[in-house]
């Protein structure tokens, strides 16, 4: 085992960690700020992958560009689902267990619809740059990983700036702490939550396009991400986007090192042991408010 091998494993872990951040950032918004346990978030990510696949194979649109375009319909979809969720559950104070069941059901519906349309085969996208690799000395940086990671970082920076510098962003951070106090500042809490949930689902659309650039996708692959992304969200600390990014990078590196040295089967065990150990020492997560 050489130093080169270690550094390549580290780099791969950081790159995949950036992608994990892109998938988790939506959970950090919906679960961390709105207390909505949107368990169907990874299913929305997969739906984003298939939308990017359709645009790529059907119309020949670059997957990166379609990722950006997808944010708009996915944002509207998120607003719609929040309204349904609000009228069916939140309005009556039944958001806890019923809400969880709602999103659990939504996850299966998305999955089944995808299977009915596309079947269970793996699908992938094509773009000239996806097959090339940058070599910096002994360091290999495959573009199919590097580009999604950079886009993930940009997505993270954009959302963090939005939350910390705009009026709507601050209201999103405040809304779970005391919604009716927002009304006293002439801020409609339902509108703020709808905006936040829309952004959350929009980020899932983009993350889906990134995922199908990284690897081929089939409809039920989202399930692999449910445990991982909620773990990253909790590990980073509820309501902290920087915490989410750090936790995603940490988990990416831990998984990559474990897979490289001991085999991929060990990766989840080591990750979740790390999560439990962190939560024992820091119950609020790494950067929880």
């Amino acid at each position: 085992m050489s130093v080169e091998f270690l550094i390549n494993a580290l780099a791969a872990g950081l790159l995949i960690g950036c992608f994990y951040a892109a998938v988790t950032i939506g959970i950090s918004i919906s679960f961390g700020f709105l207390d909505i346990a949107n368990i169907s978030h990874p299913a929305f990510v997969i739906a984003g992958s298939y939308a990017a696949y359709l645009l790529n194979q059907g119309v020949g649109i670059d997957p990166l560009l379609s990722g950006l375009l997808l944010t708009i319909p996915f944002f509207l979809l998120g607003c719609l689902f929040y309204d349904i969720y609000f009228h069916a559950f939140e309005q009556h104070g039944r958001e806890g267990l019923s809400g969880l069941a709602f999103f659990f059901g939504l996850m299966f519906i998305i999955e089944v619809v995808l299977i009915m349309i596309f079947g269970v085969d793996f699908r992938y996208v094509e773009a000239g740059y996806l097959n090339s690799t940058w070599r910096l000395g002994f360091l290999d940086l495959p573009l199919r990983l590097l580009i999604p990671s950079l886009v993930a970082v940009l997505l993270f920076v954009a959302l963090q700036l939005f939350l910390s510098t705009t009026f709507q962003g601050r209201a999103i951070i405040a809304v779970s702490q005391d919604p009716s106090a927002l009304s006293l500042l002439s801020i409609r809490p339902r509108r703020i939550k709808r905006l936040a949930f829309g952004l959350s689902v929009a980020s899932a659309g983009l993350a889906g396009a990134l995922l199908i650039m990284i690897q081929p996708v089939e409809p039920s692959i989202g399930r692999e991400y449910i445990g991982r992304v909620f773990a990253i969200c909790v590990l980073g600390g509820m309501g902290s986007l920087p915490g989410t990014l750090i936790a995603a990078l940490l988990l990416g590196v831990i998984e990559s090192l474990t897979s490289s040295y001991y085999g991929p089967a060990w990766a989840p065990a080591v990750s979740f042991t790390f999560l439990l150990a962190t939560l024992t020492l820091r119950p609020r997560g790494l950067l929880g408010r």
């Binding site: 009026f167 951070i173 405040a174 009716s180 927002l182 009304s183 500042l185 002439s186 801020i187 408010r289």
Partner: protein, 243 residues
């Protein structure tokens, strides 16, 4: 400009419990009206009715903002606040995980306040230098007195024309009670506000009152049109001074 509230024959309650019965009162433009009464007599319910957070069973609440009349019973809380009626709620209702500055800036959300946010932020920091020192600190880590400053500051960021303060003295050390009441009076003068304040601390509240209403069991039991009238009221002596 004319900024006032008129409440006529207001009755309200929760289920079968009547909390307010036939209450009429006026908050005159540019003046401080004080609502006096011990806990459980309906002060907070009255304020909730003004802010659209509690629907009364009978009566009318009308606000004049810059001379324009508005029927508050037809408006939502957000719309009432957007008229320029700001509330410092009981218990302050701050966002504990946000910093002082973030809490204050949330007050400037409505468009009319947003354009003046920098000037208003400067004004709040001038009025409460302590908050300027701690602007990046989460509100949860501050003392009750400092939190009350943030709550007042946040309401000022709304750019209100009428300021309603519910029980500013609750949970404060005696020295902060006097200081908070003084600041409310000073803000009224500097910002030319119309003020309605609910308070249990009679001696402190009466120092700044132009009009005082004593509320007992959901009814206005006494109206004092001046400080002397309030000071010399038999009822107030009995209720508050134990005479």
């Amino acid at each position: 400009m004319d900024n006032r509230i008129a409440i006529r024959n207001l009755s309200a309650g929760y289920g079968a419990v009547r909390v307010l019965e036939d209450v009429s009162l006026d908050v005159a433009s540019g003046q401080t009206a004080v609502l006096l009464g011990v806990n459980g007599n309906g002060k907070s319910t009255l304020i909730k009715c003004i802010m659209g957070m509690c629907k009364p069973s009978a009566g009318a609440i009308e606000a004049h903002i810059d001379g324009q009349p508005h029927d508050l019973l037809k408006l939502t809380t957000e719309e009432i606040v957007d008229l320029g009626i700001g509330l410092v709620p009981e218990g302050r209702r701050l966002f504990p995980k946000l910093t002082v500055e973030e809490n204050l800036l949330l007050g400037a959300y409505r468009p009319a306040a947003r354009v003046k946010r920098l000037a208003n932020l400067d004004f709040v920091f001038e009025t409460f230098p302590r908050l300027a020192e701690r602007r990046r600190q989460p509100v949860a880590l501050m003392s009750g007195g400092e939190q009350q400053m943030v709550a007042l500051g946040r309401a000022l960021m709304l750019e209100p024309k009428i300021l309603i303060v519910d029980e500013p003295s609750v949970g404060l050390a005696p020295i902060f009670v006097a200081r908070t009441i003084d600041v409310i009076d000073q803000l009224k003068r500097v910002k030319n506000l119309t003020v309605l304040m609910a308070e249990q601390n009679f001696n402190q509240a009466i120092r700044v009152a132009d009009t005082g209403y004593v509320i007992v069991h959901g009814q206005i039991a006494f109206t004092g049109r001046s400080r002397d009238e309030l000071n010399n009221s038999e009822l107030i002596r009995r209720l508050y001074l134990g005479a």
